[in-house]
Symmetry: C2
Subunit: 613 residues, 2 copies
């Protein structure tokens, strides 16, 4: 047998793992023009994964990459939640129905289900359009970060060395490749090889709760089979998650005899080889009683799992190697968070890497990745513990006064709405999250994502969703709420602001490379509070309108159905305000219209003067 | 030179002409599974046509074919109209701004502009997915309808004989083909060859109004350049139509000296060879004064036209050959109707041909094509005459007391809203338009298109746009407004209705081929008036729910922003009603819930018992 070939290559960012976290990273970096490569150990794309819950915030994120329409077209929408509990005769009965998503500002007020394979295809198709594909099957075998301090100081150095083994169809090493990368993202799942190369621990615990999961097309008279249902029965709990077409996923708690049946007598632990889908269907039948349920045709995918919650002790090593997704947090699938948390990890990381690689930002910007996402992961597993306990515990009855009451469960379900929807994710104060002037715009929370609202484009009265004007294009958006532009005081402030923006030492000029247009780094948007029939875009200073499409107003559209609520719902007063939105749509800072230094200071805290183009 | 080859072929429907009317026909027929062929004389698709106005109703129609999302993505939306008139110093000034589309029920309350080539591409891509392409370049040379009475009586006979000449790249006849078709659609433009094979006259007249049209990217300080503008100046009138990207189309009236300049001194008639884009730009500069306008770069497409309005004396010959689009009506482009009227012609015709070809309907159904569309074309040119006169006449001034007042113009502009938007198109009484029970649902007009409204799907509280449940799939939709299903009186009516629907002699059973499911010919939709948390789809009789997705209710969705208005806005009372919606989304008839014979009689008037599958 001939020795495997060895080749060498370089890349700016190497992504290991082509699941949702890795694909989000590769797509975002590719879109940003970053030299990125993504590899995966699997010889081909897996058709249908296990994860399927898409929360409202991720729908917004997909829109910010131009991928939202397809996601909405393909996914199944869950608007309603139904709660069932044991009735007087022991069988389940409807206790209440309620909205599935309680986050008030969600642009898409529902959750989606769509199998992981379909989600991955959305990214793969988007990447194909930029000639970016997953290299596979490839496994990494060696990883080293340079210990040369000078090299580490230079954000453009290829400080990460990775050895890759290219496999053939028989999984035999065909070729060895040495890759020198500037940055590496390990998005290689719960058993992450990347994570294991470093002294990173997964901190947390397993519970005693054992659940079965089964996908089927139901044949049933259960009236809420197309709603997300939480069933507490005397035979264990069940969650129903409707899916694409007529498919439904059942999460079935295994307790007592059902648990014994799937336990390996030799190890005393639940073991999937002691379980089969027919057994899970039998559990479902008992749980649903007095309703009838059976599978119409064959049962689809099924599995068994034990709930556990763990978070990695580090998300980053030297700000050169980052881990993301399941590689740094695992939790129960029932809150539908897994894929969402994973994709949000790399959505958070990608723009930061782009800025550092372009020389727009100081490398310390990368520290905010672990700072923001690890805290979120901890919040997530804390929530998951509470939710899993309430879901897995028996309902309260005469005989079980320690059981969970319906009120307790629904209360957690609703309060958690902001969290499980992803809408309420909050990043703490840092150089890129500056809440000093929070009170100026009470309902736009610095460190949270910019809420949606409809605004009217002045030049043509076309209503736009504000979030659609804040795409994930790596640019910071500076949104000027001018107040009523017909009011001379406000107009004077705007004119003064224009003058300051035009000064050579303003953030707009000094952080935009010589030779680039101002809009290449910062996108300025102006939202007046004037009637659309009266305000005229040509009245605004030119720095605010490099193009006629940059001036908006807060008014209703001609249907009278949308618009006119951005100042009131955001809580912007008549004096106006400036809101800086990060490239990931999170609010970075707020400033008064007439306090230009605050804006300048914010950007100066992490941006650098780029080289001329 | 060898004699051209001769081949023979048969087809169910031959479409001649691959412009918007022909492509709408081919796409609709292809989607319906009809054996259709479309030919065109041009060797390749023309990149960008002249027509570009898309009215609100056509946006709805595109949605009914699943093509609306792309249309909306590509088109430029015109929400606002602005009106300019001469000011005291002679230059133009803003008189008022108003909504561009005044039709209250328009689902999309704006007009679109998108060049004809892009519209055609939407159809071509849709057709490609069904393996249907335009055969080209091919010209017809002979056309004959059988005179055999027995053959004409049989809707399945190939009673139309056409000789086609296949051309090569040099436009030389390469092959001759004799096609026997059951039906032929002549969508071959204003100079229609098909029309000229029959004694059909184009009735109408030309006016003295001469206009120039020019596409350009403007360099201007005119503040309404991105709105649809009607400018009456002392130097002639102008209409501005903003287009994709930064492009704008100007319609410029040529009067006095400007008219003289483009007049051929030999003929005394306007002649395009005496005109050039620079000349049109000069006219624009004078018209826009005191605003500045110039072209940023090269001027795009431009032309000269004289307004004329004509309608063909017949739209159909023996209900075997039909003419559609510009072949049967020509008018001025400024009301933005051309492409819309053309596509609506074949949208009207396609489902009727499908029904007759499948043996579902009596061939007399085809008579309603001319009945409905010729009347519409006459209404259109009458409107166009008024509009063109008001637009082309001079504004009223001190010195010109016969001129058009601003109020007169805006009044016509607004009143015509329902008409120009396409929303108000009304088909008169016929076997398929039966207004007997109109009063039961006051605001759903029999003979007009079903208005949009959001309804909530009972099984999962998913809000749907009613129009999206009425796709152009050739099926009649029978919409049951049950009233409050919790009310025993209403529930009893529904149960009785279910029983009648299930009888073997009901329209549902007798007009559905043996071997087919009831949903294959008629789609039944049920809309209750009950709260979404209370109503349960499994409570409805099975005939109304062959699938769980068929039961809806009139309630708000969980965002509180949509839904809950269908009964009140349509004017359905607590006793409910049945609304029959034709495959083209026009309302065919209304019936009380408890007058089953009315429904049966309606369908029996034009449907036939189909052969078993």
């Amino acid at each position: 047998m001939p020795a495997p070939l060895v080749k060498e290559s370089t890349v700016d960012v190497l992504v290991i793992g082509a699941g949702p976290a890795g694909l989000m990273a590769a797509n975002a970096l590719g879109r940003a023009g970053v030299n990125v490569r993504i590899i995966d150990k699997r010889p081909k794309k897996v058709a249908a994964g296990q994860a399927d819950g898409i929360q409202p915030r991720i729908i917004e994120v997909f829109h910010s990459y131009g991928l939202g329409e397809r996601l909405l077209r393909e996914g199944c929408r869950l608007h309603m939640a139904a709660f069932y509990n044991p009735g007087p005769d022991g069988g389940i009965e409807l206790t209440s129905r309620a909205r599935n998503i309680s986050a008030a500002t969600a642009r898409f007020p529902f959750a989606l289900t769509l199998n992981q394979g379909a989600i991955e295809s959305i990214f793969l198709d988007s990447m194909r359009a930029m000639d970016l594909q997953v290299d596979r099957p490839i496994v990494p075998s060696y990883l080293e970060i340079s210990s040369d301090e000078a090299e580490l100081q230079n954000p453009q150095s290829h400080a990460v060395k990775v050895v890759l083994q290219h496999l053939d169809a028989e999984q035999i090493v065909e070729e060895t490749e040495i890759v020198k990368a500037k940055y590496l993202i390990g998005a290689d799942g719960a058993h992450s090889w990347v994570r294991k190369q470093f002294p990173i621990t997964m901190d947390g615990e397993h519970t005693d709760y054992v659940w079965g999961v089964v996908d089927l097309i139901p044949d049933t008279d259960f009236p809420d089979i197309r709603n997300r249902c939480a069933i507490h029965s005397n035979n264990g709990s069940c969650m129903i998650v409707p899916r694409e077409g007529d498919l439904v996923r059942l999460y079935l708690q295994l307790t007592d005899d059902n648990l014994k049946r799937v336990t390996n007598p030799n190890t005393g632990k639940p073991d999937i080889s002691y379980c089969n889908p027919q057994q899970l269907l039998e559990v479902a039948k008992k749980t649903f009683y007095p309703y009838r349920i059976d599978a119409d045709g064959e049962v689809g995918w099924w599995t068994l799992y034990i709930i556990g919650q763990r978070v990695a002790s580090q998300f980053s090593i030297n700000d050169r190697v980052f881990i993301a997704g399941d590689a740094c947090h695992t939790h129960s699938p029932k809150a539908g968070q897994g894929m969402n948390a994973s994709m949000n990890d790399t959505h958070n990381l990608a723009w930061k890497l782009s800025h550092v690689l372009r020389g727009w930002a100081h490398p310390s910007l990368l520290k905010t990745y672990e700072f923001e996402r690890r805290r979120y992961a901890q919040d997530l597993i804390n929530f998951d513990k509470t939710f899993a306990r309430l879901f897995s515990n028996k309902p309260r009855t005469k005989d079980n006064q320690n059981g969970v009451t319906h009120e307790e469960f629904v209360d957690v379900f609703s309060k958690a709405g902001g969290f499980t929807s992803g809408i309420g994710i909050h990043y703490n104060e840092s150089p890129i999250v500056n809440p000093t002037y929070q009170s100026l715009v009470a309902n736009v929370v610095v460190g949270e994502r910019m809420p949606p609202q409809t605004i009217i484009r002045v030049a043509d009265s076309w209503p736009f969703e504000l979030q659609d004007l804040l795409p994930a294009d790596t640019r910071f958006k500076v949104v000027f709420f001018t107040g009523d532009y017909m009011n001379p005081t406000q107009r004077d402030k705007v004119l003064e602001l224009a003058e300051k923006l035009n000064q050579p030492e303003s953030f707009l000029r000094k952080f935009t490379p010589k030779g680039a247009r101002s809009g290449d780094v910062f996108d300025l948007l102006t939202i007046a509070a004037s009637k659309k029939e009266q305000v005229t875009y040509t009245d605004f200073p030119k720095v605010f309108r490099p193009h006629w499409s940059k001036i908006y107003t807060d008014d209703v559209d001609f249907s009278g159905k949308v618009g006119g609520k951005v100042y009131s719902s955001f809580g912007v007063g008549p004096s106006g305000a400036i809101v800086v939105v990060r490239p990931d749509q999170y609010v970075g800072m707020i400033s008064p219209l007439d306090k230009f230094s605050a804006l300048d200071d914010y950007f100066s805290s992490f941006m650098t003067r780029p080289a001329p183009l």
